[in-house]
Symmetry: D2
Subunit: 363 residues, 4 copies
């Protein structure tokens, strides 16, 4: 009953895929989820029950072929990271709108190929929208902070400190996962990198990156060139710094916090993580719980993302972010991962080319 | 596309009515908002634009007559409090499900007449659901606290302290509003009273009530037998106490907080109000904003309410609360309002009858 | 080496007495603790070791007689409440300065007799200082709040909400203690009453008091006409209200919090109790500890009290508070305790006389 | 009257010197401040009034010569950093106990000369105590965190994150000061470095250091090879990392916070800075103030330091920290300052020697 609706299909019904599906199915009034694909039959079985009326496919290509005849307008890609780029490009070439889960790829060049395909396709489909979902940009608190900064509340933003820290998964699943994740900076810190670019300006140019890490709980991560705790610094040519921390080892829950320090003030986001507004007073003190997972913290942001993506497709308005930024973030994440392993700072000139030797002036 | 949907009409499109309408229109996947009524043409004009496809009526009775033929199943009553009971009873007599905004009436007897109509109608419509929306019962934090209490985390709950405090409206609108609101205890503290009954047990019997109030900012409230700040105590026969505070005078925003103190611990809800997770560091210190209105604090709870009401109607499951509680809360609120004016504590026997003289044993 | 020092003796070396002794001994540079008395030999033995050089006495009178020859100038009374008044009066009649622990007496008339003795003695000893130690008035946070209020930050203060809540002592010692404590309002809430008078103005006139209480953990308290949880309201003739809560049942520690609500803002004190600045992140969430006892919260205030008392004696400046206030607080505490038992509100005329029947105008 | 007292002289009566003097004069019961020196007559004039009875000297050497005859036992060095080492060594050679303000010197070699002098002197004065005052080690919150960590509460400590961030001084005094401060890492982060060594173990060996900085508000700092905001990483050979942030640009006040992240939990210190327990509710939200200066945050720690130093001298007990640590902290701070300027990471072998080229294994 909500005017004309956007006809949406989703690729991937795993943990995040199922959530995206539910958001488009029941929490995005202007969208109509008409189809879903997954290579796993049991995920399709789940969809049959949870997403009544949605057509299901084991094969992504077949879904596209069939549903395009049913008026399919947009595809949400929430499948395994390894196929993000390929699936996105297929949909792009059909002129469909695309919302792709982050990252486009763990590889910057492959990520760039999605952007290239999009910009090419736009020549014939000028209203086409393709975005990579950096969920935090849709979070009410980050937005409020960004607006306050833009309004001048903290003067010139100069230092950005941010962390993405997962609750320790005692099953150690993240070790096996590390083989394909691109490493902790591409998997976790990518959010903080994207935020740094958002707060400092998308056109900020990286001057250097450096990183250091340890394996405090899972030495096996070294097999996949990964670490369970790492810290990093990104210098920008506009005289700004981002300082990052990422971890797989939080005891209490997901701790994703950020600070933007300006010449006249500071904005902090989530410095006191909390699940809700309850405090528990007991013999050992006063306690509050904090969300165990990323989704617990950012569920509302994901729903907002679904609604805004839908709106920009239907209304042909500016997408909430430019796709190029997603490539930039992966590029920086990859460089940090390399620095983490090599023990070397990596320097760039203002055109973005790597410098073999630092050319930094002494003062 | 979400299976069979509940066909819902809404009565009233004022401030809260429009919000309820939006919730059922776009944020309740299993509901289909088919009609809306309001005596104000400009509200219907708004609906025509915001609720595309919803049929609109200037007359509530006509809406019922017409829509019942279109398969109407449920009515949401969000009109002026004065017509809540009458509209609810009309819908009840037609066998429709009803979600009525609080209070059923500012008068306990009239409130009771809604319950009576419902219980009578149920004889022929055993699956009919009628609830009065006490939104806080759908709030994630209150629910978490209630679950923790029920699980025994704080031993025996003994003292309930709660407040409903509105941000000062400098326009003074609340003075004119006081003529019809039933007074600050019926209008604001009704939530805290309902929560006390929920946390202490719906069958808790009131032993005494007493209240005191002042007019710190709006002496004109006295014309309508109201106050802008008031405090109250409710004693229960099970050895429990509720201590309440209500105000129209908060500077920073809506401050609705509660504490449940048990023999082994305490649970607090919202003791540190906040709009979001942002903190602002500036020359005068560290600051956070807090929601300016009740809706800013409880929006998610209202949406949850819409979804749960819809689900219990469609699935014929137990409603989330019993309608009788809504009468009980008004009865207590009215007694508090009386005590506020008379300066006298009002005592009750265990059957709920008023005692002219306190019969409390000296020890 | 700190200029001329005030020669001080202390009466009572129990829990609080020993603390006061240590404050005057080592943390009050301008004071010289020269003597201490206690009826308990083992406390004197402790003093011999901890207060090297301080002369000790089993008998208070003997201490006064002897030390006055040694130049004794001031007496700190930290003995059992039952002898506060008697010991204070003896010292007053000798022209000595007196700092008496609260309360002067659990009985308002006896408390008044100390004031009478003081004002009489002042005729011949115009520089004599006698104060009753309401420690919270020396607390940095309460002072900051009071200054901000006085500076107009919150407009006209209208509602004062305050609590004194002890950590549950599982030994149940407080039951036996209740026989002599004067009851929970005289023992605990006396602080909140004093604060109400401080924040609302010492000359605020009580219009009514009422109280209700329960025995949630210690029914035996009823033998001594006491309760373990109680709530109260004090109405003042200047259109202000104080709402109090006191408890012996806190799980997490001492929770003494206050709020002053004015027509333009609010000040809160200690709404988030904490022992220090440490937070503990562990599997069950984020936790902070809170002080287990009153002293843990207010140690610095007691030290400040010792130093300010010393300074006003040496410099002949205005004492930090008037002694009359201590009587007023006990009088209100006693009335609340009576209301707690009788189940009746107690009303007063503007001259402070009790009214048998409320004469409150209906509107 | 507190048993035998330690006879103490102080060198330097500037801002921090005057505070130390007051602590030893009036807040350290077991100490007797007998003399003070300063090259500034007006500071001696202040002392004559504030430190009644303390002998004053324009010349440090003369103070030592004269007071040693009066039984001088200990010297507190709170003069300009440039003369710390020289004054300390003179006192050490006389067999006096020494409490030297941090740093011993901004130069690691000079710092080491103090240690060498001390260890040499101890051969003939085995009870001599010399410490460098790292005040945070005396702070109740840091101590509580250290004890909890030592008790195993967080498993193996792995990542230490810490910051020393000053409130922006709009006078820009810190620019001129930078000429002599040793740079922001030696002046500010030295505390965080010392804490890292304390929490990770004094024998932790540095593997690498790297730093990056900007001049966001005071470009003139570059003249003195300094920055106003800088970030750093210290890697240790035991698989631990410290991540630091220092700034001269905080809007709200002094923000010194730390986190110790272990394999089973995390401890945070002062993540929510505050001056006291007051919150201010006003139209713009809820606000709390935070201390404007380092001393506002750590006053109690300084007093504790004075008392513990005094106690270890009088009782011939182990000093609260080893002097060698102070050299280690300066050495790391200097290396960070070098890295800040050179743009290069500096690597060390396990014996503490610098490596020209990183030898880090690839995995």
């Amino acid at each position: 009953m909500v005017g004309q609706k956007l006809k949406v299909a989703i690729a991937g019904l795993g943990r995040m895929g199922a959530r995206h599906a539910m958001h488009f199915y029941g929490l995005t009034p202007r969208a109509d989820l008409i189809a879903a694909s997954s290579p796993e039959q049991k995920e399709l079985d789940w969809a049959a029950e949870a997403l009544v009326g949605t057509r299901t496919y084991l094969d992504y290509d077949e879904m596209l072929r069939t549903e395009i005849k049913n008026g399919l307008q947009a595809v949400v890609i929430a499948s395994a990271t390894a196929v993000h780029a390929e699936q996105a490009i297929k949909a792009i070439k059909l002129g469909l709108h695309v919302l792709c889960e982050k990252p486009l790829s763990t590889n910057a060049e492959i990520s760039q190929s999605v952007v290239t395909a999009y910009r090419e396709s736009q020549k014939t489909h000028p209203s086409q929208k393709v975005i990579c979902g950096f969920s935090r940009r849709f979070d009410a608190s980050y937005r409020d902070a960004h607006e306050k900064m833009t309004a001048g509340l903290i003067g010139t933003p100069s230092v950005f400190r941010s962390q993405t820290c997962d609750k320790l998964d005692p099953s150690g699943f993240f070790v096996a996962y590390a083989e394909f994740s691109g490493g902790i900076f591409v998997d976790c810190s990518i959010h903080d990198i994207d935020l740094a670019l958002w707060f400092f300006g998308e056109d900020s140019k990286v001057k250097s990156v450096s990183a250091v890490g340890i394996t405090a709980v899972e030495p096996d991560l070294r097999k996949f060139n990964d670490r369970d705790n790492a810290v990093a610094v990104i210098e920008f040519y506009n005289g700004k710094i981002a300082q990052l921390y990422c971890s797989r080892m939080m005891a209490a829950g997901q701790e994703d916090t950020s600070e933007i320090i300006g010449t006249k003030g500071k904005l902090s986001i989530n410095m006191q993580p909390q699940t809700n507004l309850v405090n528990i007073y007991e013999n050992s003190g006063v306690r509050r719980e904090i969300p165990p997972h990323y989704y617990g913290r950012f569920r509302d942001a994901f729903i907002q993302e679904a609604n805004e993506f839908t709106a920009c497709c239907l209304d042909d308005t500016e997408p909430p972010m430019r796709l190029e930024g997603a490539v930039n973030a992966v590029r920086i994440g990859q460089a940090l991962q390399e620095s983490l392993l090599s023990g070397k700072r990596i320097d760039f000139d203002e055109a973005g080319n790597r410098l073999e030797e630092p050319i930094r002036a002494r003062l």
